[in-house]
């Protein structure tokens, strides 16, 4: 999309190295100290030191050992008064990371429902992915102090309210897993089309979301919904190159150059989805959404898309997870499977629930235009434009209005 920028490439490489090791270090330090907050502070210090020094000194051969050494030294320094922690840290020497990956516990703690959703997202990015406060603030376009406060409050709640550092047992697991998946999905959505951003696409968050989903899929291989979410994210990313034109303008699915889609990635994501679906036969919302994305990704052209199949998948999805937004998407599929009139009819019930949702008005505008009711269509486009904060969406709607 943009030209190669050596500074940015090295930042990305740096982010990748940090992400691969920060969570593991956090997991082992939480286990060791028994204090989530203290452990997290040490890891964050080490990460920030790395982000400062590695661009100058180069990434060390053993980044994990390097981060550990910095965190340990820092711990001995700042935890001077807490002799209990000091003694534990002093005894500790670097050993090869254990076979067992403790990051699952870390994820469940960060995504605990007793924390606010914003806190869960910030905490997951910071503790599991190793993002710095500044990086999180930049990704969400909020002041750094806001993120810092959110994190401090969340860590205090973890300690003081006794939020456990463990994987939930039996009965609670599936519900809590839904919560974890929701955090990753939100992160993905935010990155895929950040609604309040000056940049239409915050690529890093999408990358983090995929990385988290893939980590989770490795740690919980028997949960088909995890594989479903991972496949969903990968299917969307595989079409990424065609979503924006040279001038960073959003290109609608119907107009995308399908030759620019990553067909190898699409094939791999569909294979992943099919394996999970066949092995477990437990359909869920993420698997269904991935199946819908797969229908689009497999179609050779917009016209040859299997719309009736997509309508059926939306019906199943609505059965499992009723939502007005899903009904809106089903209506869009219905337009091509049946007719614009049928779709328009479906939108009637959604006015109250989605009054302030720009896509409802943009969709209605599209349908009205298909029915040559141009004057009404224009009014809907104007409503949609007034409601969206996303620059790429705004540009698209403005283009329509200027016709």
């Amino acid at each position: 999309m943009t030209g190669a920028d050596p500074e940015r490439v090295s930042q990305e490489a740096l982010a990748r190295v940090v992400r691969d090791h920060a969570g593991r270090l956090a997991a082992s330090l939480v286990s060791l100290l028994g204090d989530f907050s203290a452990a997290e502070d040490l890891v964050q210090d080490a990460v920030e030191t790395a982000l400062r020094r590695w661009p100058v000194e180069g990434v060390p051969d053993r980044p994990d050992a390097w981060l550990f050494t910095v965190a340990r030294r820092r711990g001995l320094d700042v935890l001077r008064r807490e002799t209990n922690y000091r003694a534990k840290l002093a005894q500790l020497t670097w050993v090869e990371p254990a076979q067992k990956d403790d990051r699952l516990q870390l994820i469940f703690t960060c995504c605990h429902p007793a924390l606010s959703l914003e806190a869960r997202i910030a905490l997951t990015l910071r503790v599991v992915c190793g993002l710095s406060t500044a990086q999180i603030a930049a990704a969400f376009l909020v002041p750094e102090t806001t993120v810092a406060q959110r994190l401090t409050r969340a860590k205090r709640k973890i300690t003081e309210a006794g939020i456990p550092y463990r994987i939930p047992d039996g009965d609670d697991l599936s519900e809590r897993l839904d919560g974890v998946l929701a955090v990753i999905y939100l992160l993905f959505n935010e990155g895929y089309l950040s609604s309040g951003g000056a940049r239409a696409q915050a690529r890093d968050l999408v990358d983090d979301a995929e990385w988290l989903a893939s980590l989770l899929a490795g740690l919980m291989p028997d949960e088909p919904e995890v594989a479903g979410l991972l496949a969903l994210i990968r299917l969307h990313r595989a079409r990424g190159a065609a979503r924006f034109d040279d001038r960073e303008q959003l290109v609608l699915l119907a107009d995308q150059d399908r030759g620019r889609w990553d067909h190898a990635a699409i094939g791999a994501a569909i294979a992943l989805l099919m394996r999970a679906a066949r092995a477990h036969r437990r359909p869920g919302p993420y698997q269904l959404q991935a199946a819908i994305a797969a229908c689009h990704a497999e179609a050779e052209s917009f016209e040859s898309t299997d719309w009736p199949q997509i309508v059926v998948l939306y019906d199943m999805l609505l059965h499992l997870a009723p939502s007005p937004i899903t009904r809106l998407h089903r209506a869009i599929a219905l337009r091509y499977a049946v007719s614009p009139e049928a779709a328009l009819d479906e939108l009637k019930d959604l006015d109250r629930a989605l009054e302030n949702y720009p896509l409802l008005h943009a969709t209605r505008a599209d349908l009205l235009r298909a029915l040559r009711r141009n004057h009404e269509a224009r009014e809907c486009d104007e409503r949609a434009l007034a409601l969206t904060a996303n620059p790429a969406q705004q540009a698209l709607l403005e283009k329509r209005l200027s016709w």
């Binding site: 007793a114 309210a161 006794g162 939020i163």
Partner: protein, 113 residues
């Protein structure tokens, strides 16, 4: 850790309770009794409060006479009806207890010392 579970009643719930026949109400009370029995090892103390119309609130003001008013400290549709102090490992365990609470629809969980 020690937590206090605060049982909070809503207006709707109070009405439902009122509308119940004698047998039904007996069942509802029995369910609460069973919950306390099942969790007896974790509950260190519990209190059931008299109905909210019996409440009196005193507001202490620096340097002035306190103001005494009829009613609870916040007028609202949700009122605290009782407490249980529990001793459990962590928040998840407290949440698990609250999940099986068979009566009023809101439970606030707070660490206590």
């Amino acid at each position: 850790m020690k937590y206090v579970l605060m049982f909070v009643e809503t207006e709707e719930f109070a009405k439902e309770l009122e509308a119940m026949g004698a047998l039904e109400r007996e069942d509802a009370y029995a369910a609460v009794g069973r919950w306390f029995a099942e969790n007896a090892t974790k509950i260190t103390h519990h209190t059931h409060l008299a109905p909210v119309h019996t409440a009196t609130t005193m507001r202490l003001r620096r340097g002035e006479e306190p103001v005494v008013t009829d009613g609870p400290f916040v007028e609202g549709k949700e009122v605290v009806t009782g407490f249980a102090e529990v001793e459990v490992a962590d928040l998840d365990e407290a949440l698990k207890m609250a999940r099986s609470w068979p009566a009023c629809p809101i439970v606030e969980i707070r660490p206590a010392s």
